[in-house]
Every structure is written in C-alpha cells, then in structure tokens.
Symmetry: C2
Subunit: 373 residues, 2 copies
Amino acid sequence: MDERVREHAETLVDWSARIEAGDDVVMSVAEDAHDLGVAVAEALGERGANVTTLYGSDELSRAYLKGNERADWGFDSDPAVDRALFEAADAYLRLGGGRNTTATADVDRETRRAYAKARTGVREARMDTDWVSTVHPTRSLAQQAGMAYEEYRDFVYDAVCRDWEALADEMSQMKEVLDAGDEIRIVTERDDAPDTDVTMSIAGRTAVNSAASVAYDSHNLPSGEVFTAPYDATGEAFFDVPMTIDATRVRNVRLVFEEGEVVDFAAETGEEALASVLDTDPGARRLGELGIGMNRGIDRFTDSILFDEKMGDTIHLAVGRAYDACLPDGETENDSAVHVDMISDVSERSRLTVDGDVVQRNGRFWWEDGFES
Amino acid sequence: MDERVREHAETLVDWSARIEAGDDVVMSVAEDAHDLGVAVAEALGERGANVTTLYGSDELSRAYLKGNERADWGFDSDPAVDRALFEAADAYLRLGGGRNTTATADVDRETRRAYAKARTGVREARMDTDWVSTVHPTRSLAQQAGMAYEEYRDFVYDAVCRDWEALADEMSQMKEVLDAGDEIRIVTERDDAPDTDVTMSIAGRTAVNSAASVAYDSHNLPSGEVFTAPYDATGEAFFDVPMTIDATRVRNVRLVFEEGEVVDFAAETGEEALASVLDTDPGARRLGELGIGMNRGIDRFTDSILFDEKMGDTIHLAVGRAYDACLPDGETENDSAVHVDMISDVSERSRLTVDGDVVQRNGRFWWEDGFES
C-alpha cells in the first residue's frame, strides 16, 4: 500500500475526526475507495473505536432510484434504519471515490430532488455527528480532473497531507475579521468576464476556520477555507469556475440578488440543472455560504467541489443550506435540502472588503507579501 | 448484465425475503458482489422498500481486527450503531462474494473468537430480522471450488434459480416425519471411511422445511434441506466432506458424543481450528443442528457451506447454536457464539432411521424410486 494512503487515513481519523476509544463510527466506502477504507479500518481498530461500514455506491443508488421511479412509489421521509444508524453514531466518515462520476446521470431530476427532500431528517442526523468527507484518488476522479491517474494521486495527497496546524493559525486571522465585521462586498472587474459586485450582511454570524477538523467545525479533508453564512445579499455575481450539478456540467453562472434572494440567473451551459437547484425550496434561492479559499496546496481546478472551493485565489458563494456553526444559537435559517457552491477566480482585478476595509486584493491577503490596500 | 443476476435478485427479494412496500431492509454487499447488489437495489426500489447498504469486506474486517489486536483493546460487547441498525431493520440480505476467501487468515484466532463473542447481541438482533444469506459467483469462490469462473457461475445459478415451490412440497414429507419422531439414528458403514453410528433425541423439536424463504423459517439462498435441533447425542460420527474453518482447511473430522457433548474429536488436517471452535463456549460442544441435504441441483462439493450442506445425498451435523425455529417456545438451548456444520456423504452404505423406521437409505428417500426399506 502507498504509504500516503496510510497518512491520509491517519490524518482523517486523528486530525479531522478526532476519533477516540469507544467512539461509534459509521464509515461509508465508495466503489473504488476500498484501499483507503482498509487503512481507515486499521486506524479505527488501533484507536479502539467501533466501526460500521456502509457501501457508498452511486451505481446501487441509481438502480434503487430507477426501480422506485418505475413503480412510482415516492420516498419514505423517515427511513427507520438510516435514522437509527446516524442517531447512534458519534462520527461519520465519508470516503468518496466511485467508478463513474456520472453514474446517476439518467435518473430523473425530479426523482433525485424528491429523494433528497425525503432524506432531510437523515441528513440532519448525519450532520449532528462529527462527520468528515474525503475522497480516495480514483481513475474516475482523475478523468474528471483531466489528469493522469498517477498525477491525480500526487495532486490529492499534496492537498491532503499538509501541516494543518500551521494553516489553521494563518486562517484564524481571516476568521477574526469576518467575526467582527457587519458587511462584506466582493468586486471583480476583469476584462474577460462579466463584473461581480455583490454586498452581503454578515452581522451576528460566526466564521468557521475550516482547517479540516471537527475541532474547528470543519468537515472536509482536504479543507483550507474560511467561510461564514451571509444574508441579505444585493447585487450581481459571476462564477467562472465550471462545476457539475446532478451530473450536468454547468459553466459561467450569473446570479442576481435582491433582498437576499436570487431574482434572476443564467448559465452558459447547464442552466436547467441550475434552475432545478434554485427551485428545490425557498431556501435554495438564498445564500447559505460565503467561503474564501486559502489552501495553496491545491494548484488547479479539478471539477470536484471538495478541492476547487478550497483553492487559494478563489472565493465561493453557495445557495441553500447554511451550516449551523455559522449561525447564532437556535437560528436555523438558511434552511434548504440543497447546498450548491459556485466559485470565482479572484486572482486578478478583484477586491474583498469588510466594512469598507480591503482584506483581499487580486488574491493576496492583507498579511501577505504583495498585498496593497 | 447476465439475466440470471436479475433472476437471482428477484428470487432473493420476492421468494426468499418476501419484501413488501415500506420494509426497512439492510443489505450487505461483499467486495465483488457489486453486480448482484445493483440488481437487488433495483428490485428493492421497485418493491417500495427502504434500503441501507453495508460493505461486507473481509479485507476491511481484517484491517480493523489487526489494528485492534495490535493496540490490545478488546471488543465492545454493545456497539451502539450495529445494534440500532439491526433493531430497526425488518430484513437483512447478505450478499457474499469477496476477493479472497482466506482474507482474514492472519488474524489471531483468539482475536476472531473474542470478536465473535462480543458481537453476540448484534448477531441476535440481526437474526431477529427476516434475514437471508446468498452469494454472488466470484472468481475467488470459483477458485475455492476448483472451478473455472464461467463454470462456477452456471453451478451457482443452477442451485439458485429453481422451482422452489415444488421442492418445498417434496421436502415437507421429511419435515412431517421429523416433527413426529422422537429419536434419530445415522449409520454409515463404508469400506473407505470410519463408521458413523450416532443416535440423537429430536422429541419436542420442530423441523424446518428449508425452502430458501423466510416464509419457511429458511434463511439461505440456495437452500434445499430439512433440518432440526437434536440433543442428547451418543455415539460416533465421521465427516468426510472437507470444510474451511477460520480460513483453515479441515478434513475427515471424527466426533465422539456422550450425553449430548463432544467428549473426543480428531481431524486429519486442521484439528487445531476444530479444537478452537469446540472451546468457544459450552454450547460449542453440543449439537445445534441435524440437516438432510435435498437440493439435487447441487451436484458437487465446492468448499462452501451454503452449497455443500444442501446437496442431495448428504447429511450434516452442526456444533453450536441451534436455530430458534426448531425449539419449543421460550427454549434457548443450544446457545453458542458458533455454528459450524460438518458434512457426510451418505450416497452409499448408509441409513437414517426415525424411531426405528428407515427413511433414507444410500441417499434415497422412502418416497423415491430406488429406495428399499
């Protein structure tokens, strides 16, 4: 076994999920994530945890959804086993890495939406655990990234096997500014793309220093972003980084906000998939997240949100669900069955201001060399 | 997809597990049972059931056990997630078919025994569901059977895709005799093997017409045996069909019974593995099952208990746990953490008598041509 698989597993179990003896862990292993599953299982055994392993197969999901669709059953909104499973779990480790990133492409969009809606309760129970999502580098993901398999493995391990403690310290500076701020404005004025000029409130919200550990309310490995839950957005935003929604490629999204809601939208390709997301429920038209990518170990876009949104020199906005960690106690808005991130490259002719102070210009932060306020 | 995979899945879901709309189903998919998993998931979707899919990987189990063993933790006797999972389930479908039947060969026997003991409660919760165990034909199982892959697939589907209703009718004759009987005696007098002459009580016990369906208290697909839970065994029994216990090949087992207990034993190979089984707990020295193989679709031994014990012209005895279905209400003996079947070829010079009446001679039953009482 590649020694980096073991390092990945130990980072996941120890740094990210903080597993301790006696913890009840649910792990989900995708079709081709077997090797990482073996390394994680070994680490869990060594830590004295219990483990229940799910098979996270997109091909099985497709078959189930198609079968249900054919018989027109609809979906149980309170599936007893899944609820009991996650309610009893201390931690949930999702090991992605299937054989085909478009394995569910021929499932009716309405079916997928109905399934996602029906599983709101299960998702909530899962998110009440110390959950962490990661991926094992597979040939399918390499293909999606447009990379050779060996090259892609290097890419993944460069992003995952980092000095997380040092990055957490650096990112804490951005968290402090966002926590103290009331209003955030993002402006880009590139020649080759429509302008962005969007203003949002962040008053009363708490930013997450997403350092790839539940100890930081951070649930992705790799991570490396600071994010918060904005509201009352006004203005226009353009997202030039391509993404995949429900197996559909979506490019060059433009969103127009008024009083916190998306009132107009367009996409160069995949506009129908975007529309379907925005129509899921009322919360899907409001912002759930503003994130600032700060992981400079990620050096290119690979059509995987887990990596793309963490890349340095990017910011992203998500429509849909906000993370509880960003909200005041007891506050549940923005609630939604979806959470879809959209990314902008801010490496050139951009500025991010908090209450009028420029904190990032052309991708550089105020504490970095090359930043000019 | 081979059309027989779909037939296998539908037999499992409809005939075996009797899945209905709204049922909460837990399915476990082994490493290489993916294709059967897809077909079963589709059938479950069509029936309107909920499904939670576990990854039944021996390689992950090995890694977990080795990790735990290295750190010397021991095992949690009440793992919360697994218990909650099976307590909430209506049915459990186990789809075997890994990549290496000896994948756990280097796990310490004590570790495996401790793990099996600790999981008694989980196993009981699982067996309280409508559980069914089957296998997808894999290269690893073909290899264990000493067969080509294509040949092995034919073998499996010949055993699985049968007229179960007709076989159930035939087997019901044997169940009636065993239910009415008090004492059963098995005698073999072959020139090439030690004699068997063992007598057991079956008074008050209920035989199971194991027709591969939970509607018959039968939990294997394929099945095709009639079994009961004998007690007070006396005599000697010889088992000439090789088997694998804890990844160890065990051949030519001889057991000596007195007052229901194994008081002496021997095996030509694998005696240590046999000893380990018998030492698990007091119940492991007593019989849990007498079974009479009646599936003539199975035409050879393949070193898989799921098939071997169902083959026509064989009988088997199991040490360890008895199935509740055979016991009077409230009776829990014979209780044990193990259940290990041992098989004899009774095609020649054998007789099975119930209260003195010969019901099977040289493999033929009293209702068959070629039987001479």
